[in-house]
Amino acid sequence: MRPVVALLLSASLALAACQREERDTRPQSALGSGEQPIPVTTLEPGGQRPSPADNKAASFEANAFHLSEGKRLFGWFNCSGCHANGGGGMGPALMDEKWIYGSSMESIHATIRDGRPNGMPSFRDKIPDDQIWELAAFVRSLSGNAPSSAAPSRNDDMMVHPSENRMPDAATLGKSP
């Protein structure tokens, strides 16, 4: 049975490849991209090991399209219901300089995908993986961690805070270090 399925699958993939040029929109399976061993602490007995960076992080971060998509999805998946427009509510604030589970793209992606024990739900089977990366990129931009050239511009609606591309860096609150 299994070889037949594999054959069918490869045939369909081959057909798809014939029809259009190669695109990078869904490079991996839509739901879940392998496990990433992202430590949620900087305390590692024996000294810090280099974190294996996910190559997806770089391709989504600082990308204007992905950031604006992330902003749209932030409302559509009700992230804003708990985290408001970054200031928080039922969930913690995302626009401040405090990161409970790490500030890296990989950590934020893992938080959205797998959830966290004190109330963050796991969206593993609800949000396609690439869209989780888009959300992670937008979450970082909320605290000024995205180049202003790429971060989304002002809202069409009630101005609740400066637009993401004008948000001062949370760590320095806009002051030069």
């Binding site: 427009n85 200031g87 609606d157």
Partner: protein
Amino acid sequence: MKQATQLAAFCGDPVCTDRAPASRKHFGVLTATLLVCAPLLTAASQPPPAPAISPPATAAPPDDGQWTMPAKNYASTRYSELAEINEGNVKNLQVAFTFSTGVNKGQEAAPLVIGNTMYIVTPFPNIVYALDLSKPGAPMKWKYEPNPEPAAQGVACCDVVTRGAAFADGRVFFNTLDGHTIALDANSGQPIWNAHIANINIGETITMAPLVVKGKVLVGNSGGEMGVRGWVKALDAGDGHVVWTAYNTGPDKEVLIGPDFKPHYDMDKGKDLGVTTWPPEAWKIGGGNMWGWISYDPDLNLIFHGTGNPGPWNPDLRPGDNKWTSGIFARDADTGAAKWFYQWTPHDLHDYDGINEQVLLDMNWQGKPRKVLVRPERNGYLYVLDRTTGEVLSAKPYGPVNSSKGVDLKTGRLIENPDKLTGTGKVVRDICPTASGLKDWQPSAFSPKTGLLYIPHNNLCMDEEGVEVNYIAGTPYVGMNVRMIPGPGGNRGAFTAWDIAAEKPAWSLKENFPVWSGAVVTAGDVVFYGTMEGWFKAVSAKTGDLLWQFKTSSGIIGQPITYRGPDGHQYVAILSGVGGWAGAIVSGDLDPRDATAALGFVNVMKDLKNTTTAGGTLYVFRLP
């Protein structure tokens, strides 16, 4: 008596009542009103009559010095007959003992005192402590840790609070955030039963204090911001099994509407209104939760409970009256069968939950003795209802209201203000009161000695913008950007003494922050409440004059109580620890740069972080 009430209502001025000390202070005003109110003054010079307004005796039995339920009694008066602490000596109050709850989240609970023991329940993780009042310093007798599911914190709107426990028949009953109702042996702290009745994966939590009536523990669910269908359940106090469940939306059968249901107004009559006043299926995720207060009238054998806001907040997704949300039910105490219903806010536009306390009183209304129910409602009106029928006798605003233009006493319907209709893609500004209401859950107190209802409340307005929202079970279902601002005058809170007979305030105190604490009033004519700065205050029940205040370690949003200790003396207790929706900016460490944080409340509480810090400490006071 009939004549006096009529005249009081006619004259209106507080000095027209029989409160002699207040009258003496205002001799000029007294002279001026003498001409109009002469007959009443003659009446007042006779021996003091029985209180013109008082709770039914069966719902408010003589004070035994204990505090067995957060509302003090089934009539929910929060009135104590203890009078050792009075207007004259309250200034001498000093700390008897303190106790750290170990939890720095919003402390909304009322302590309970039964015999020589005090019971307190903390916010999540909902630890219950028993303190031995008979020993110096009130040492811990036992504690019980229910270990609720930590994930529940992620579906608890507006901090992880609880509003307290209830005592009956040697047992302490309380609810956990993750949806359990638990009965403990009051002596040992051992669990007797544990009923799992709410599911956090669809957004249900439990934050209310249970009420025990005739061997049943009444509990409702929270989740009006998560698309949760509201219900009230009666659990058997003996073993915790569910005796009945009454939903607040859906088919009549599930709402427990049957042949006995006789609403007073036409708008509440019809078959399956809990289905037909919604778009198809929307009632299944339509809110109407019950997370506030229940009162009970033993004579009528009725319980009274409100229903929360419809979901989502954005009204475009739910055209119709959205029965049975933002209203009040009278139900049979044994079966839960609905007797009547009244909808405070049909098709709610502004998150006006209808779950505030209802104070049960007997009084003369326009010359006739009536059994009434008094409700300071979130939409800004002080309602007086006939609790046998649900008829509205009076609905007067007790603060600034512009979201509606009054209540039509013929149809019972709230008159909407067309300028304040919210919807998708539209920003509507300066709506008063806010989503948190002119008053939220914070319960008021009533004194039969003064005839006044002491109302802790807010003075806030807001901008609202409806936005698109998707229903995903277990996530918020709101669809509204909200930004709150201080109300007229700039004071964000007020403490108002409302003259129920005269339908107007007797006095009102301005507070900088919303008064998010409850109130208690005593036969010593002292009213206690707390502020979000952390002041615990005692004011005169007659005049509102500040008599004493004490600065606690954190902002106060709890419910004060007073009791007679094992030494025979009167004590006053309050939990200090800021949080709740109003204080979420501190307890949840939210970012004030986002005006919509905490559903818009952060915008108006930006300075709270510079005023107080999170805490969780019990303070108990006594005279030296």
